[in-house]
């Protein structure tokens, strides 16, 4: 069984935001919600890096643990999905998420939150809707994973900075890159998400 993960090779990321656009387009993500984003660290300083970040589909996901209605769960492939029919929009998964992945559409006055939305690894939803159905697409977005494809963001990445796939495979690719070019700023977020680091 594969364990699906994301890895952003920050030494290759050029802050082009194509992954952000690809995600929004592929999943028809509503206004105000960005399932994926690119953050520039130390902008304009030596050693500046850009990192593309979305839901990391954590090992032992904190969002799933704290959810008061238990609507978030990891699949057999380690993809963290949620059921929007069960979600109550309380915001707890946002407090717990180390990567700022969960977001909520504004549904009323004050800060009242609607159903949580986040990256699904392009694997559709965690609800009752049949896989690949229009109802599932409207609620959660594309189910590329069900067709044997990887997330659109990683597939579109022009510099192949953003890697998606089985954790061991993408870790190996990253290791080889680091060995070949002689440097690497590390697998951003891996320690927090997967309790492991890629040592080269």
């Amino acid at each position: 069984m594969a364990r699906m993960k994301f890895l952003c090779d920050a030494d290759r990321c050029i802050d082009c935001n194509a992954c952000v656009t690809a995600c929004k387009n592929e999943n028809e993500v509503p206004w105000g919600i960005n399932r994926r984003r690119v953050v520039n660290i130390n902008d304009g300083k030596p050693g500046e890096r850009s990192v593309s970040m979305a839901c990391m589909h954590c090992t032992d996901p904190p969002c799933a643990a704290v959810c008061p209605v238990s609507c978030i769960y990891p699949t057999d492939d380690g993809i963290v999905l949620h059921d929007k029919d069960i979600c109550i929009g309380c915001g707890y998964c946002f407090y717990a998420c180390p990567f700022g992945a969960p977001q909520y559409p504004q549904v009323g006055n004050f800060g009242s939150r609607g159903k949580m939305d986040k990256c699904t690894y392009c694997a559709g939803g965690g609800g009752d809707e049949p896989s690949g159905s229009a109802a599932e697409f409207a609620k959660y977005g594309s189910d590329r994973f069900g067709q044997g494809k990887l997330p659109m963001c990683a597939e579109m990445c022009s510099t192949k900075s953003l890697l998606a796939g089985d954790g061991d495979v993408i870790a190996q690719i990253y290791k080889e890159r680091v060995l070949k070019r002689g440097y690497g700023s590390g697998a951003w977020g891996w320690m927090t998400a997967y309790h492991e680091n890629i040592e080269v």
Binding site: N34, V39, N42, R49, P62, R113, W188, G189, M191, T192
Partner: protein, 335 residues
């Protein structure tokens, strides 16, 4: 030498000095083969997290709060919420209920030792009772809906299933959000109305020395409120303000808070709320089951004269004196 030349010379010397200082730093950024080493000054996640608990940067999308890249504190908050709060909350609340049950078994209901006199005296005016019950009803609703968020998935979810539990929790969330306003209104009223009578006074020390009326054959004098009631007042004031402020911070996400601020607000809200529930459980016990004649003070507003004599003798004396003065307005000669 002209002034301009002198300036040029000075600049040149400065540049030279600057180079001498900077040269080793430049040299360090070159690899062993003389080529620039791109990893020499690179930012690493580990170093960034050593300097600051979060990795933050610049972001191009309008949602600037998404510029927080990694905040490992989320896992700490998860541990607080799932382990510390579940165990701590359960121990505190169930422990309080057990203690109160034990108190009932040992002491039983505190009776009016002289029996009822049948004469009633007004203890709480209708507006005071309204303020109390506004706060009380809000508190019970907030308490139950709040406990559902923390313990519902353990207690209620297995009983009614995920769909029904989701509907209940969704409604509970909105009820919790909107009841907060009536709770704060009631809390502010209570704070103002009862402030004067809850200022500690000399007789409170005496009351404590006499064992607060819990020791038989010992009479503990008290004013309108005894130290036990005053403790409930001041603790409710502190806890009420703490849950209100932290609650409104959570109700308006990112208004004056960031992710760390909201985590702290949630911890404060949860811890204080659990302790507040324990305090109010004790308050409910002594006001209903624990003492004969106590509930009617907040129920009808009138208490039995003998109850007042036993628990609030100084207040009763003042009330009766006041009534006498009112009943005989011509007692003082109008010269």
């Amino acid at each position: 030498m002209t002034f301009l030349v002198r300036i040029r010379l000075a600049t040149f010397v400065m540049l030279l000095l600057g180079l001498m200082v900077a040269a080793p730093a430049v040299a360090q950024k070159l690899g062993p083969d003389g080529a620039p080493d791109p990893s020499a000054s690179v930012t690493s996640e580990r170093n960034l997290l050593k300097q600051f608990p979060r990795v933050e940067g610049r972001i191009d999308i309008p949602d600037t709060k998404a510029a927080v890249l990694i905040q490992p504190a989320g896992r700490t908050w998860d541990y607080f919420h799932e382990v510390l709060l579940h165990w701590g909350g359960a121990v505190v609340i169930l422990g309080t209920i057990a203690m109160l049950g034990l108190a009932y078994l040992i002491m039983g209901r505190i009776r009016i030792s002289a029996g009822r006199s049948g004469i009633k005296i007004l203890r709480f005016k209708s507006f005071e009772r309204f303020s109390h019950w506004l706060t009380a009803v809000s508190f019970v609703i907030l308490g139950l809906t709040g406990l559902n968020i923390t313990f519902g998935k353990i207690v209620l979810l297995p009983l009614i299933g995920p769909d029904a539990f989701s509907d209940v929790s969704q409604a509970a969330k909105y009820v919790h959000n909107f009841t907060s306003f009536s709770f704060v209104a009631g809390l502010l009223l209570i704070i103002v109305i009862f402030f004067k009578d809850n200022i500690p006074e000399k007789v409170d020390l005496e009351w404590l020395k006499q064992g607060g009326g819990f020791i038989k054959n010992k009479h503990a004098s008290a004013g309108r409120f005894n130290p036990g009631e005053k403790a409930v007042y001041w603790l409710s004031l502190l806890a009420g303000i703490a849950v209100s402020v932290s609650g409104f911070l959570l109700l308006f996400p990112f208004y004056g808070t960031n992710i760390a601020g909201m985590q702290i607000a949630q911890v404060v809200h949860a811890v204080v709320a659990v302790l507040f529930v324990a305090l109010i459980l004790a308050h409910i016990y002594i006001g209903t089951l624990g003492m004969e004649g106590a509930f009617e003070a907040m129920g009808s507003g009138e208490v039995d004269l003998n109850w007042a004599k036993e628990h609030h003798d100084q207040w009763l004396a003042r009330q009766l004196a006041g009534e006498e003065r009112q009943a005989r307005p011509s007692a003082t000669p109008a010269e």
